[in-house]
């Protein structure tokens, strides 16, 4: 088997000749656009949206290529190829993002066509990872593995991917457009802070349908989405999506980019927005947009379950170090005798979401050996091996440890989301990565982290909120105050079913004092918590005042 041969059972969508032809045409088109730019036939203003729609950003120090990982699903051949690209055309690293994509932060313009060719070799691309179009759909990182799932969202995420690819009507929207879909009643995709959030479910007859929310978002105006409809039948899924996008494309603001997201339109129109979508939906020639059951079945075949062995659930080996890792990284699987494993990309003091070329190759090998060659990227910037035999967990852990990937901190205080911030991003007003590194060093003791329990810290380097700070238990936003980086703290955010925007606690902290402030919040929580309470539970029970007093009380 060639290193680029996809593993037999990994549930990635398999390209056929038509998909490959499409991709080759797209690469040729972009190469032509680069040539027209170089020949002066395109101005930089005209070229910019074209390069963005091919995933190419201009950052602080270099171009950045953002590669799509559709719904965060990779097979081992693809991950191996990403490692090769990192080694050959970047500085040996890739950066996994909260949108389940990967970014190469040190890209040279002249290398881009070769990088795109290398991606195409494993059926990957960078299309629509940027620009005012429908972006990569995100989904549950445990899709197809988690016991609480009602509908496997991968099939519908792939249908959305195909439908939105170079959509003739929705490629020049007022602003970018992000869809998240989950098939579990426990929302792990932050559906309510997306432009459109979809919850796939079943009715009494077992038929699939969709609950659709629209108009959520973070950024400088965080808003929780509005529910448009409780039930859209499967066959009308794309028709309903078209209706939502049409209303937005026609009426969304285009003058002020801070008001151009669908969330502002939905907020301003309220129920009228829902009515307009319904009206469009009612009058569309629905046959044209009908999602045929044959299509769903044919695409569904790409996502058939791998051949699980008939196994029993097992006791884990006694090894205490292994057990400490397993207690955070191992998650129940729907299939007896199997488990899902989350791989932390948050080593203490490291850069959240970074993986080296060697690590990507190591994970690809381990996935082949233990998880049918399937890998997921999570919106918390970690990786998942979805289907691991419980009897293999100890061996897998040793393999991960050898690659420096066994930090046992999933869901704990050092499992931090951080945007690139001032280290890479041209829009940043403050550093973000170093704050994450320093917090993780401060709480380096794993015993202490386990004692603190689940606590989500998210950090953004500017108001655009790429680090999702609004929906963290402890959110940190870096802003510029008269030339000095300062950090605002919000408490009590959540991105799950009980989605909430965090509350600003008071005056900002300096670069030097922000880590102390986090520590004060944690000691306050420890002092007040009742048995079994997480940080967020205690905060909800006792409110903001005790935390405020602890932070701002005169010494």
């Amino acid at each position: 088997m060639n290193a680029l041969t996809p593993p037999q059972y990994a549930r990635t969508y398999r390209y056929d000749e038509i998909d490959r032809e499409f991709l080759q045409e797209r690469i040729a088109e972009f190469r032509g656009q680069i040539e027209r730019r170089l020949a002066g036939e395109l101005t930089e203003d005209e070229f910019k949206p074209l390069r963005l729609m091919n995933g190419l950003y201009l950052q602080l120090h270099a171009y950045m290529l953002r590669v799509a990982i559709p719904y965060g699903l990779l097979n081992s051949a693809q991950l191996r190829q990403l490692g090769r690209i990192a080694r050959r055309w970047d500085r040996g690293f890739g950066h996994f993002t909260t949108r389940q994509n990967i970014q190469f932060n040190w890209t040279k313009l002249e290398d881009v066509p070769a990088m795109l060719e290398a991606l195409a070799e494993v059926d990957m691309h960078a299309i629509q990872t940027s620009g005012n179009c429908i972006r990569n759909t995100t989904t549950d990182e445990y899709a197809g593995a988690t016991p609480d799932e009602v509908v496997d969202p991968l099939v519908y995420a792939e249908i959305l991917r195909q439908w939105s690819t170079l959509h003739p009507e929705f490629t020049w929207l007022p602003r970018k457009f992000k869809i998240a879909i989950t098939g579990s009643p426990n929302d792990r995709v932050a559906a309510q802070v997306h432009d459109v959030g979809v919850l796939a479910k079943r009715n009494e007859r077992g038929e699939v349908g969709f609950e659709v929310h629209a108009g959520g978002g973070l950024g400088r105006t965080p808003i929780i989405a509005r529910k448009l409809r409780d039930w859209v039948p499967e066959s009308e899924f794309l028709a309903y999506m078209e209706a939502v996008l049409r209303v937005y494309n026609a009426l969304g603001q285009r003058e002020n980019i801070y008001k151009a997201r669908i969330k502002i339109l939905v907020r301003d129109l309220g129920d009228e927005f829902t009515q307009m979508v319904e009206r469009e939906y009612e009058r569309m020639p629905r046959d044209r947009y009908r999602l045929d059951p044959d299509i769903v079945a044919a695409i569904g075949a790409h996502f058939a379950p791998p051949p699980f062995a008939a196994l029993e659930d097992q006791e884990l080996p006694e090894d205490p170090e292994f057990r400490a890792w397993a207690s955070t990284s191992v998650r129940a699987h729907r299939q007896p005798g199997y488990a899902s494993v989350t791989i932390s990309l948050k080593p203490i003091g490291g850069i959240p979401g970074d993986a080296s070329a060697d690590q990507m190759e190591a994970v690809a090998d381990l996935a082949e050996r233990h998880s049918f060659g399937e890998i997921r990227v999570t919106h918390v910037q970690n990786l998942v091996l979805p289907h691991v035999r419980q009897e293999d967990l100890h061996a897998l852990w040793q393999g991960l440890r050898a690659a420096g990937l066994a930090t046992p901190n999933i869901g704990l205080i050092s499992d931090i989301i951080a945007c690139p911030g001032m280290d890479y991003c041209a829009l940043a007003t403050a550093r973000s990565i170093p704050i994450a590194q320093r917090i993780s060093e401060r709480f380096a003791s794993l015993d202490r982290q386990h004692d603190i329990g689940e606590c989500f810290i998210n950090i953004s380097g500017c108001i655009n909120a790429c680090g999702h700070h609004h929906v963290a238990h402890i959110g940190i936003l870096g802003v510029d105050k008269r030339g000095e980086e300062v950090y605002q703290v919000t408490l009590g955010g959540s991105a799950t079913n009980d989605a909430a925007i965090g509350e600003l606690i008071g005056p900002a902290f300096s670069y030097d004092t922000i880590v102390d402030a986090v520590e004060t919040l944690i000691t306050t929580y420890i002092a007040h918590r009742s048995p079994g309470e997480r940080f967020i539970d205690t905060y909800r029970r006792i409110g903001v005042t005790p935390f405020k007093d602890a932070l701002y009380a005169p010494a």
Binding site: W163, T165, P168, W172, N249, R254, I295
Partner: protein, 165 residues
Amino acid sequence: MPLLEDGRLRPDDWTSIEDDAPLPEGPAIISLARLQAEAATLAGRNAPLGVAVAPETQPEEIAPFLSRLALVALRMPKSKDGRAFTQARSLREHHGFAGEIRATGHVLPDQYAMLLRCGVSTVEVPEGTRPETWARSRDAIRIGYQAAQGADHPLSLLRRKLELA
């Protein structure tokens, strides 16, 4: 300005008329405001009539006049402003408009195929435009993954072979 149709340039036989200027004998494009104000008098006119609509105009607003119109000119103030795509699709799909839909303003060759797939028939382009660039752009990608207005034939699943030439 020349017109691009089927990937080739051709002269424009329509004239755009200011609101206060008299209407000529031949094909004339007027504003929506004038169309609304002079609907009664215009009803008796024999020469072809077209209307230029702003990006914020909803196709419903011109629906009552469509049976009398041979052309609707849409405007893209900036190439990034994609409202014309939805206007065109709506004119074809909801209002059954079969006349010429023309894209004017700042249109890029890279948008040509998508405009055609939304139901646009012609593009007003600057003097000196090289039609080959537009034709090449149109033909760069021959596969579409979703239903649209253009002539295409479904291949399988969501896909279709585009017939834009």
